[in-house]
C-alpha cells in the first residue's frame, strides 16, 4: 500500500497541526490564530472557487473556522492528517451553501460533517512540498488529463455534481464519465506516489 496512515509523529508539519488542534480543546486562542494563519489561504481559495463570490466565501470560511474552534474534538489525529480533514469540511460547507442557493437541487453525497477517516500522504510528500509547490504539482498532474476528463473531475469536486449530472451537462455517455473520473483520480494518485 502506498499511502500509509500518517500518525502525528511522522511529519513535523502534521504533528504541529495536531498539537495546535489539541490546544483548541483548552480554549487556546493563540493556537487558533496559528491554525488560521497556516491554513486560511487554501481554505478560502477552495471555498471561493466553489461559491464564486468573495463575501459569501468569507462567510463560509468564518463558519468553518468557528466550527473548528467550537468543535475541535471532532478532529481525531489518529484517523488521519488535519489539512485534508479541514479541506473536506470546508468543501462540504461550501457545497451545502451552494445547494441551498439553488433550492436543494443537488444531493449531499457526504452526509457527515466530518470525514470519517482519511489516509495520510506519504511522509516524504508531506515534508517535501510546501503549499505552493503542492499546488503546482497537482495542477500539472490534472493538466495532463484530456480537457473533458479534467472538466468532469472539477465538476464533481467543485460543483458537487453526480455522474449522471456531469454526463448530462457534458453530453457524454454515463460510462465514459465514470471512467474519466475514476481513471483521472487513479492517475493523480500514481503521480503523487511518484512525487514521494
Amino acid at each position: 500500500m502506498f499511502l500509509a496512515v500518517l500518525t502525528p509523529k511522522d511529519s513535523p508539519e502534521v504533528s504541529l497541526d495536531a498539537t495546535l488542534v489539541n490546544r483548541l480543546l483548552h480554549r487556546d486562542v493563540s493556537a487558533f490564530e496559528q491554525l488560521y494563519d497556516r491554513h486560511s489561504r487554501i481554505v478560502y481559495a477552495l471555498v471561493l472557487r466553489i461559491l464564486q463570490q468573495a463575501s459569501t466565501a468569507e462567510e463560509v470560511v468564518q463558519d468553518v473556522f468557528l466550527q473548528l474552534w467550537r468543535n475541535a474534538a471532532r478532529y481525531q489525529a489518529a484517523r488521519g492528517p488535519f489539512v485534508p480533514w479541514l479541506l473536506t469540511l470546508a468543501r462540504n460547507r461550501a457545497l451545502d451553501h451552494l445547494r441551498l442557493k439553488s433550492e436543494r437541487q443537488r444531493r449531499l453525497e457526504d452526509q457527515s460533517e466530518e470525514p470519517i477517516a482519511i489516509a495520510g500522504a506519504p511522509p516524504e510528500y508531506e515534508k517535501a512540498l510546501d503549499e505552493k509547490r503542492r499546488a503546482e504539482r497537482i495542477r500539472a498532474l490534472i493538466g495532463a488529463l484530456n480537457p473533458q476528463q479534467k472538466r468532469a473531475i472539477e465538476m464533481a469536486y467543485f460543483e458537487g455534481l453526480s455522474h449522471t449530472e456531469i454526463a448530462e451537462a457534458l453530453k457524454e455517455p454515463l460510462g465514459t464519465v465514470k471512467s474519466w473520473i475514476r481513471n483521472g483520480l487513479l492517475r493523480l494518485k500514481e503521480g503523487l506516489q511518484a512525487t514521494s
Partner: protein
C-alpha cells in the same frame, strides 16, 4: 469482473461525492458489511480527492475576516466557563435516539446479508429516515436558537422601518453572541433574478456597509432571516439595512435601502 472489482470501481467517485443514488447505496451496504480492503481504498481515495483543493486559484481572505474571527474567538474564550457546561452537554434523548438509530442500522445490515434482494430498498429507506431525522433535528435546533435569541434578556430588539410607507415594517433582534434574527410578514417578492440582502452599517465614520445574508420571502410573504455569525459586532454597528440586489448578492449595496433600523 468479480463483485469485489465492481465495488472497487465505485470507490473514487464515492470519495468525490459523485456516485448516483443506487451506486452509493450499493457501496455503502458493502462498506457497512465490513470490507477492509474497500475501507482502506476509500481512505486513500478521500486523501487524493482532498488534494484537488489545490486546483483552486490562489486567493487570500481579507484582514477584516481574520480580525472578526479572532474577536469572536477571544470573546467566546473569555465567556467559556459560564456557558460551556450548558452548551457542551448532549441531551439524554439525543443519545437514546442515536442508540435507537444504531440498532436499526445494524438490523438492516444483518437483514441485508440474509435477504440480498432487499438490500437496496432497506438502505434507501434507512437513508431517507436518517435524512428526515437530520432535517427535523436541524429545524428543532434552529427553532431553539431563534427562541433563545428572542427571549434572552441581553438581546436587543428594534424595528426596521420601510422607506416606502406602504410596506410593512420588520422586527430585528440581536443577541451579542447568538446572532441576528429578522422577521416580517406581507413582504413582496423582489423582481426576477433579484434577492433581498441584509447589511450591517458600521459606526466608524467612512466605513463601508458589511454584507450579510441574502434571502427571499416565502410564498405567503413571510420573512425569517437568521444570521449566526454576523460580520460585525453589535457595539460597532450603527444600523441594519436591507436592499434589493442581483441574485447571488453584492459586496456593496447597489440600491437604496428598503428597510433600516437603528441598533443603538
Amino acid at each position: 469482473m468479480s463483485d469485489q472489482d465492481q465495488f472497487r470501481e465505485l470507490i473514487e467517485a464515492y470519495a468525490l461525492g459523485a456516485l448516483d443514488e443506487q451506486d452509493r447505496a450499493t457501496l455503502e451496504a458493502h462498506l457497512a458489511a465490513g470490507c477492509a480492503d474497500c475501507s482502506k481504498a476509500l481512505q486513500e481515495a478521500r486523501w487524493v480527492a482532498s488534494q484537488l483543493a489545490y486546483l483552486a486559484p490562489p486567493a487570500e481572505p481579507s484582514e477584516m475576516l481574520r480580525a472578526r474571527l479572532l474577536q469572536k474567538v477571544r470573546a467566546e474564550a473569555s465567556t467559556a466557563n459560564s456557558s460551556a457546561s450548558s452548551r457542551g452537554r448532549v441531551p439524554y434523548w439525543l443519545w437514546a435516539g442515536a442508540a435507537a438509530l444504531l440498532v436499526v442500522t445494524l438490523y438492516s445490515t444483518w437483514n441485508a446479508w440474509r435477504l440480498q434482494m432487499e438490500i437496496q430498498a432497506v438502505n434507501q429507506r434507512a437513508a431517507a429516515e436518517l435524512q428526515q431525522r437530520q432535517q427535523l433535528q436541524q429545524q428543532l435546533d434552529a427553532a431553539k436558537h431563534q427562541a433563545h435569541i428572542l427571549m434572552d434578556p441581553t438581546s436587543k430588539k428594534f424595528p426596521m422601518w420601510p422607506h416606502d410607507t406602504q410596506m410593512p415594517r420588520l422586527e430585528a433582534t440581536w443577541h451579542p453572541e447568538m446572532g441576528i434574527f429578522v422577521t416580517g410578514e406581507k413582504i413582496p417578492m423582489p423582481g426576477s433574478h433579484r434577492v433581498l440582502q441584509l447589511w450591517l452599517i458600521p459606526k466608524a465614520p467612512g466605513s463601508k456597509p458589511m454584507p450579510s445574508r441574502t434571502f427571499w420571502p416565502d410564498a405567503q410573504g413571510k420573512v425569517v432571516v437568521m444570521v449566526d455569525n454576523p460580520p460585525e459586532v453589535m457595539a460597532e454597528t450603527k444600523a441594519l439595512a436591507i436592499t434589493e440586489e442581483p441574485a447571488g448578492g453584492s459586496s456593496q449595496p447597489t440600491s437604496t435601502p428598503m428597510w433600516e433600523g437603528g441598533v443603538s
